[in-house]
Symmetry: C2
Subunit: 671 residues, 2 copies
């Protein structure tokens, strides 16, 4: 037969049927998710502006290029993206929110699937100068950076230190004679390692270093350092810079290393909004050092959103493919069925559909809390910061871990084809799993949340003012009769969490009684502590989802309201069933109640089945963003897989030169 | 500071200390794992023969090459490997066992980290001709293949069909006039897709196709088909062949696609050991079609071994790195600690150390059962085949899924550095996760085991002869008083499994009562069925581990016996704690018993801590095989990370050409 070429007007007939049987208006859901029809239009026009520009398209799929070629091609595209960003700015359509989306978010990852080497300029360099520079520094540097006269990055992590930033080794020693700081890398482990764009792209960096002045170390501070000559781009004397090599993903982000051999910078290059070093070397400490927490928490809000975005992409791909793929029989005398009809397949897909909503609403909620608390901070009111910090830590940890597991489950649900790069699932996994270790390693973050929980448990005096942990006051001894409702699930999850925290606290006390220091006892109990924190995080996420849906249902059609209710219930039942062991240990729930929950789960899978394709369609993610042979809107899966294979440069010659060089001589020698 | 170069004589001081405090003789454990000192020596000399040959070394790390260059470089190395294999053969040291190890096993994956394009020639092509060809066919083809006059592959999977092989679409229609089969690909989905080496390497293939003769379809059969001209390597007329493109891993295996446009092959190219087509087109069916099960089960034994091997590599890397990496404090006034001292880190590592042993012993046990049952098959005795099939399905599913999760957990336990290609953890994950979908998709396999379990549950008449399921007869109603022992854990896991199978069976019956067909009821209950099968598999693995250690302890030193006992106990406790929910539902275990188990787990982590590095050292895997900057024996982690980065071709120029082409013009235009 002749291999057909793709005709996007021809929609796969299974998808046509799925879309016809959908019980709600998918456009209504799209608008709801975007925050209104106007927002949808804005998004669509931004996507059009970027995605339909031929200058932003790759010449060959990235995966076929060498590592070096990938970098060169992505610098070309990154410059073209920046030009368009500048154009938007000049039209008054700029702003930081847009930058993030264009450089790192859903749109950004469509333009450069494996990362953008210039992203940190807008996402870290400029915001750090804005947040930590004084007025003069802002005037000087933000202008240059905004105009792209310079390209900056942010160099914090070192070969030897990541999440534990107090341990960083790079030094900045003040020399009052010349009014300069001397930057130095005293060890190999003090080399900066990881910053995006540092390898060969940026010519400036914010460098985080231990500040020494008048013979004393004052801890880590940020400095602006020029790395390369602005004209020749050659590294300046004393600057050792290069790229760190290949990674599991993000091979176009040009992550770099950086070492200093006594590099001198002017005193005024230390960012001094908070702490200062005076010309004579006197160190002046700011009273409000907690203010720098803000950026860190902001980044975590963004990461929870990113987790939802990655998961959405994977869930669209896997759901459409499962509607198209026919394989095996349920009844031996009938035809092969859509794999979406296998309950085990639904179980791999639908909980993650509901999780997309759960994480998006969790991110929205965290964003609101963040804005409230930073407002309070400005007026010197710090009481709610620990709770916000605890919530942001656990949300980041839970959303990144669950989204990563989700993307991988969805990839595997596509069988062998999910292993193909042309499915875009392997790359999506490479990006989402990175979130588990960057911006705070997940286990460390869970233990930070656990510390807040144990502290609250030990001293409940202030608890009524802390909405996310208020339940700890009473839930341990509540009598919660079984009920097939989300409200019941929330109360039960809370009681279980309280039970886990209580037990962990007891175990710490026992270990201390047995002669351990509190810190060793904490370490000895840390498996239980992380598990308690995780469950706490999930129970807030279920509650947030519940509150959100109850609000939204007031404004949606009845049909859409029913869909949201199904998704909420599925996420809630799925979450409690993941923790059956703890629930049975710490509440009065019985084995037969678990049976009811399992049946409820199966009912919900069946209820969502007819709307599955409709729901993922509503995410309204363009084919260029999905970038997947398995997930395209038209469903021409096999034609696309075949077409993508044809793009392999190996397929341009029927006989590869290695046949003549190696294989033929070998075959003949054996004759 | 000057960046130091690696001195492998300088062993990292933390590793020196760890090795000094080890309580047992690591060489004793190495010999035990290899099956005796002689086997260890054989392995070591084989490794030396291959790994120290400069002709088998890559010129540049694979990850920096383009997709096409990767292929060309791996064909060069694959030919050199085959030459050495031929040399071994001529010295009488050949044999199929060795081939697998050299081409695909631990050694093979060191020689070609991302797959060998010629592997299927020895691993699938030759064995299939041997297993399914008649005497004449063996005489004709095995000689040619063994001499490497031809290079073969095995083409079964199609774009549209994987695990459900009955659905394959490629046709082989017999034409009695010319005594030929006509091979045809009637649809795009019937194109062969995935076979290794098919793209541009092999010139022959075993093709699995639906056999039509005298107007009737007789199901799938294997045919030998020539694909390319032996001299020019050009595809023969009617053969559409190429490679399928990039994948998550195995980018050097040259996986290909293959379509036929009425390609004629002689009748005698159908492999006819079992079924035959006579010259006039008469189809003659073999009475013993179950014999072909053998190869499939054999492959699964190998996969369980592979799962253990991948896990060993990852666990060595992560354990050594965790002993070397210092980060954060336990007590605020003390120095930063080895991350191996964090209990959460031990919890990420040590259960997977114990799992390496569990899977290796499970593979050994399966291998023995396989040999017994195939022996019985030859004498026409088929009774034990279903049980062996059920065990091989669940072992493959559980070992691949758990090993994949393990490798990924271990990768994440190395923080950001685990994301670096130079850690070799991302590639190891890419290889191990592929096992979840190839050679039978895991969910499908679990359901096959579940079918055997439910059948046995419904009819226990023969159960006393079935050692792996005998427990189902009595364990449901046993009274098992709590006891801190592995024996108790095994009984409790069995009781839990019996409870799950019983409940699933009830749910199927209820659904049938409610009017569903048995098949729909089965599908509706399939989430519970897969979970029951999984637990059944894990309980056999714990039991096998228990029996093996009890035997081994008779021959080992007391010190090594104690270490094996710790590992056994850890695997058992870890396994039962994973299923706490089910255990609480289906047995009399109480919450306070779970407390005891949790504490036991923590005690075992502490007991294994001093021997952790010693145990992974005993796996005795050479640095070339680990291929990891984080895992090398000398522990010079940071020096190696830095050295690997220097190999990036991007680092050979201080200024990349893209600066002049794109970045500089952009920066200037914005001035």
């Amino acid at each position: 037969m002749a291999v057909s070429t793709i005709n996007s007007n021809k929609i796969n007939s299974d998808l046509v049927k799925e879309r016809a049987k959908c019980t709600f208006n998918t456009v209504e859901l799209t608008h709801l998710l975007d925050g209104g029809a106007e927002k949808t239009n804005e998004r669509k026009s931004r996507e059009k502006f970027f995605l339909e520009d031929p200058e932003l398209r790759l010449k060959v799929p990235l995966e076929y290029l060498s590592h070096k070629e990938k970098y060169e091609e992505s610098i070309r595209i990154a410059c073209n993206i920046f030009k368009k960003v500048n154009q938007l700015q000049s039209e008054g359509k700029g702003g930081m929110d847009n930058f993030r989306e264009i450089l790192g978010g859903q749109l950004g990852s469509a333009l450069l699937k494996d990362g953008n080497p210039l992203t940190l300029h807008y996402v870290m360099f400029i915001p750090t100068v804005m947040g930590q520079g004084n007025i003069q520094q802002q005037a000087e540097w933000i202008q240059k950076a905004w105009n792209c006269d310079i390209i900056g990055t942010y160099a914090q992590t070192e070969l030897g230190h990541g999440t534990f930033i107090r341990g960083l080794e790079t030094t900045a020693t003040y020399d009052p004679k010349t009014e300069e700081f001397i930057l130095d890398s005293p060890t190999l482990t003090s080399y900066k390692w990881w910053p995006g764009g540092l390898g060969h792209s940026a010519n400036f960096a914010i460098v985080v270093a231990q500040l020494y002045t008048q013979g004393k170390c004052h801890g880590i501070h940020p400095f602006i350092v020029q790395l390369r000559d602005e004209k020749s781009h050659k590294p300046l004397p004393g600057i050792k810079v290069g790229e760190i090599g290949c990674k599991m993903g993000m091979n176009c982000t040009n992550n770099g290393y950086l070492g200093f051999e006594n590099v001198r910078i002017p005193r005024t290059n230390m960012l001094m909004k908070n702490n200062q070093v005076l010309p004579d070397g006197t160190y002046v400490k700011s009273p409000s050092s907690k203010l720098t927490y803000g950026t860190m928490i902001f980044v975590r809000v963004v990461l929870v959103q990113d987790a939802a975005t990655y998961l959405k992409k994977a869930v669209i791909i896997a759901t459409r493919y499962s509607a198209i793929r026919h394989q095996s029989q349920i009844n031996p005398n009938e035809a092969e069925v859509q794999i979406l009809d296998f309950v085990t397949q639904q179980y791999k897909l639908f909980p993650y559909i509901s999780m997309c909503f759960a994480f998006q609403y969790a991110a929205n909620w965290l964003w609101d809390v963040y804005n409230n608390v930073t407002g309070e901070l400005e007026s010197g009111h710090l009481d709610n910061l620990p709770e916000l910090h605890a919530a942001s830590c656990v949300f980041k940890a839970v959303s990144s871990a669950d989204a990563a597991q989700g993307v991988e489950t969805l990839r595997l649900a596509c069988g062998g084809h999910g292993y193909m790069t042309s499915s875009n699932l392997p790359q999506t996994y490479g990006l989402v799993t990175a979130m588990c270790t960057y911006e705070g390693e997940n286990t460390v973050l869970l233990l930070q949340t656990a510390r807040f929980l144990i502290k609250t448990w030990q001293n409940k005096s202030n608890i009524s003012k802390l909405p996310t942990v208020r339940y700890l006051e009473t839930s341990l001894h509540k009598n919660i009769p079984f009920e097939k409702s989300v409200k019941w699930i929330i109360s039960t999850l809370q009681q279980t969490t309280a039970g886990k925290i209580n037990l962990a606290n007891e175990h710490i006390n026992q270990r201390v009684k047995n002669g351990q220091s509190y810190e060793d006892a904490w370490n000895g109990t840390s498996i239980e502590l992380t598990a308690a924190a995780e469950l706490h995080g999930r129970s807030i996420i279920v509650e947030t989802f519940y509150n959100t849906v109850n609000n939204l249902k007031k404004q949606t059609s009845q049909q859409l309201g029913a869909v949201l209710q199904h998704l909420l219930e599925l996420y809630a039942v799925y979450t409690i069933l993941r923790s059956t062991g703890d629930v049975l240990r710490f509440t009065n729930v019985l084995g037969r109640d678990v049976d009811v929950l399992q049946l409820w789960l199966e009912e919900l899978l069946a209820a969502i089945r007819p709307n599955a394709v409709g729901i993922v369609d509503s995410f309204d993610i363009r084919d260029e963003v999905l970038s997947s042979a398995l997930g395209a809107y038209d469903g021409n899966v096999y034609e696309r897989l075949f077409e993508e294979a044809q793009k392999s440069p190996l397929n341009s010659d029927p006989v590869n030169k290695s046949f003549h060089m190696y294989l033929k001589p070998f075959l003949q020698s054996s004759l």
